[in-house]
C-alpha cells in the first residue's frame, strides 16, 4: 500500500489552492464540493479562475466572498431554484465590477476536460454550427475533417491547477469510488495538476478492492483525501443524504440582496470554524430530514482462482 493521503481540509486547501489558480470544482447537481469551497472562502483566496459546468449557488457564494476573478462555465443558474443573483449583478450591472466569463455548452465544457485529461490539443463535437457561442467565445474554433465531411467545431483542453471534488468514499491511498451522477469528475481530476477529494467516508482498501469497477479515480490521480461527512450539503450524496431543496429555495431571496449574501457568508462561513461546525449550526433536525432510506445495490462476484 502507498502512503496515506488523508489530511484535513484547511491543510489540503492551504497546500494546493493558491491565489490566482485555475480551480475546477465539479459535481453535476450531485456531490457538489461545498465544504471545500467554504474552506476556500475561509482562507480568503483571491483571483481564482473557477471552472464549473453548473456554477450553482456555490459559485454565487465564492463570488460574493471575492474569491473569483474569472468564471469558466456552461450554465448560469441553479437548476430548479432559478437565478444566481450574485452572478447576475456582476454581469448585468457590473456590480461591484464586471465578471470575466468564458462560456460553453455543457458538452463543450465537458469536452474541454476530456481534452485536458487526454492531453489533446483540441476536442471535436457536433455542437455550435449556427450558434452565436463561437462568436461570443473565440476559444471555440473549427477544424476541417480530413475525410471530407466538412468542418466541425472543437474546444481547447482545460487543465486546472487543481480540481476539487466530493465523493462517497475512498481508501487512504486515494482510490475514489462514487455512484449516482458522476458528472465530469473523472475527467476534471485527470486534467488537473493537483486533485483534492473530500469524502463522506475513508474506507479500508479491501472495501475498494472488492469492487474495482466502482473506482472512478485511481490513487495515482489524487493528492489529498479529506474525510468531510456531509461535505456536499446543501447538495447531496447518493445513498448518504438527500439534497436540501429548502436551502436552495431559501437562497433565492438571499442571493437577490447583495448585503444579505454577504451577511450569510459572514455568519455561515467565516462564522464557522469548519464544516462540522457549519453542520451543527444547520441543526440536527434539519439534517435528520435529509436522511434517506437504504436501497442496496445488490452484490456481484469477481471470482477468485482456485489454486
Amino acid at each position: 500500500m502507498n502512503a496515506s493521503k488523508v489530511t484535513t481540509l484547511p491543510e489540503a486547501i492551504g497546500t494546493h489552492v493558491h491565489d490566482g489558480a485555475t480551480v475546477a470544482l465539479e459535481g453535476f447537481g450531485h456531490l457538489i464540493p461545498f465544504a471545500a469551497a467554504h474552506e476556500i472562502i475561509r482562507q480568503g483566496r483571491r483571483n481564482l479562475t473557477v471552472c464549473r459546468m453548473t456554477p450553482d449557488l456555490l459559485t454565487d457564494q465564492l463570488l460574493a466572498a471575492e474569491c473569483v476573478g474569472k468564471l469558466v462555465a456552461s450554465f448560469f443558474a441553479s437548476g430548479s431554484a432559478g437565478s444566481l443573483y450574485e452572478i447576475r449583478r456582476r454581469v448585468e450591472q457590473h456590480d461591484p465590477e464586471p465578471l470575466e466569463v468564458e462560456e460553453y455548452s455543457h458538452y463543450g465544457m465537458y469536452c474541454r476536460y476530456e481534452a485536458g485529461a487526454k492531453r489533446l490539443p483540441f476536442y471535436p463535437l457536433l455542437s455550435y454550427v449556427g450558434s452565436d457561442l463561437p462568436e461570443l467565445n473565440p476559444r471555440i474554433r473549427a477544424v476541417e475533417s480530413p475525410y471530407g465531411e466538412g468542418k466541425v467545431y472543437v474546444v481547447p483542453p482545460l487543465n486546472p491547477d487543481v480540481t476539487v471534488i466530493h465523493a462517497q468514499r475512498a481508501d487512504e491511498s486515494g482510490n475514489v469510488q462514487m455512484w449516482g451522477i458522476t458528472g465530469a469528475q473523472q475527467q476534471a481530476a485527470y486534467a488537473a495538476s493537483r486533485v483534492i477529494v473530500t469524502v463522506e467516508e475513508v474506507v479500508a482498501p479491501e472495501v475498494i478492492r472488492a469492487d474495482p469497477n466502482r473506482t472512478l479515480i485511481p490513487a495515482h490521480a489524487v493528492d489529498a483525501i479529506v474525510p468531510v461527512p456531509g461535505g456536499a450539503h446543501p447538495s447531496y450524496a447518493q445513498g448518504c443524504y438527500d439534497r436540501d431543496s429548502a436551502f436552495y429555495r431559501e437562497w433565492t431571496p438571499i442571493s437577490k440582496d447583495k448585503e444579505a449574501v454577504r451577511a450569510w457568508i459572514k455568519e455561515w462561513i467565516h462564522g464557522t470554524v469548519d464544516h462540522a461546525d457549519y453542520l451543527d449550526r444547520i441543526g440536527a433536525e434539519r439534517w435528520a430530514g435529509l436522511q434517506v432510506a437504504d436501497a442496496p445495490s445488490g452484490e456481484v462476484s469477481y471470482g477468485r482462482r482456485k489454486s
Partner: protein, 268 residues
C-alpha cells in the same frame, strides 16, 4: 361536457391556458408516441412525468445528468435529483450520455424551456439585450446547444407568448435552427431537425420541415388567431388545418397537483 358523462376520467378542466398545468398537459399530449425524451430543466421535467403516467407509459426518460430510463418514485426537483437515479435502468457517464446517447443520434425529442424562440426556430437562453452588458443574464446553453444539434426534433415550452418571447430574430442564438446552421457553409451539418413544436400560453406553433418557419397550428380555448398574431414578433402564418387545443382532463390536473408536484415547485 357530454363526454364527461360517459367517462368521468375524461371530465375536462377549466384551467386558464396560461397556467403551468395547462402547458404541462398540452406538452404531455404532444409527447405521446415519442420513444426517448431528453428532458431539460424546469417545466419539461414536470411534463415528462405527466406523460409517463398518462399518454406514454413506455417513454424512456433521459437526462443530461446521465440518467437513462428513469423510474422516479417522486417528482424530480431538477434533472440531477436523486429520485431519478434510484431505480433507473442506467446511470451513464457524461461522455456516454452526451457523446453516445445524444450525439450518437438516440434521442427522439429534446424538450427544452427557453426565453426566446424566433421565426425559424433559433433558441435564446443566454442574454436579453447586448451580449457584453445584457439587460438579463439568462442561464446560458447548459445542454441546449448540444441537444438541438443531435436530437431528432426539439419541443420548446414558453411561459409567455409575446413579441419579446417570440421575436423575428432572437437577441442571441444559443441553440441554432438548421436554417442558421445551413448558412454556415463548409460545416458538417448536425443531424437534428431543430425546433418542430413550440407550446405557448396561447397556442402551439409548428415548423413543417427542417428549413421552414414556425406556423400557428393550434390555439388554446378562448384565444383568437388575431390575439396570437398580435403577440408574435413576425407575420405569423396560420395553418389551414388549425385546430383548437383540447382542454386538459380533470384527472391530469389532479395528477399534477396531488401526485406529481405536491410541493408546488413547478406549479406556480
Amino acid at each position: 361536457m357530454t363526454l364527461a358523462a360517459d367517462n368521468p376520467a375524461e371530465e375536462l378542466s377549466d384551467l386558464p391556458p396560461s397556467s403551468t398545468e395547462f402547458l404541462a398537459t398540452v406538452a404531455a399530449r404532444e409527447l405521446a408516441g415519442r420513444r426517448r425524451i431528453f428532458a431539460g430543466v424546469g417545466l419539461p421535467t414536470l411534463a415528462v412525468d405527466l406523460a409517463k403516467r398518462t399518454t406514454n407509459p413506455n417513454v424512456e426518460l433521459v437526462y443530461e445528468s446521465g440518467v437513462v430510463g428513469a423510474h422516479p418514485e417522486a417528482m424530480a426537483e431538477g434533472i440531477a435529483d436523486s429520485v431519478l437515479v434510484s431505480g433507473a435502468e442506467a446511470m451513464l457517464g457524461m461522455d456516454a450520455l452526451f457523446g453516445y446517447v445524444l450525439q450518437g443520434g438516440n434521442v427522439d425529442v429534446g424538450f427544452l424551456g427557453a426565453a426566446q424562440v424566433d421565426r425559424v426556430g433559433n433558441i435564446n437562453t443566454s442574454f436579453i439585450g447586448d451580449w457584453h452588458q445584457p439587460t438579463v443574464r439568462l442561464p446560458g446553453s447548459g445542454g441546449a446547444c448540444d441537444i438541438i444539434a443531435s436530437a431528432h426534433e426539439i419541443f420548446v415550452v414558453l411561459r409567455r407568448h409575446d413579441p419579446g418571447a417570440l421575436p423575428e430574430q432572437v437577441d442571441f442564438v444559443t441553440s441554432p435552427s438548421p436554417v442558421r446552421a445551413r448558412a454556415q457553409e463548409g460545416f458538417h451539418q448536425p443531424p437534428g431537425a431543430g425546433v418542430t413544436t413550440v407550446i405557448t400560453p396561447l397556442g402551439i406553433l409548428r415548423r413543417p420541415d427542417r428549413f421552414g418557419e414556425l406556423e400557428l397550428a393550434a390555439i388554446h380555448p378562448g384565444v383568437t388567431v388575431e390575439q396570437v398574431r398580435d403577440n408574435t414578433g413576425w407575420d405569423l402564418r396560420v395553418r389551414e388545418d388549425l385546430v383548437l387545443t383540447p382542454r386538459p382532463r380533470v384527472e391530469d390536473v389532479r395528477l399534477l397537483r396531488e401526485e406529481i408536484d405536491t410541493v408546488r415547485l413547478y406549479l406556480r
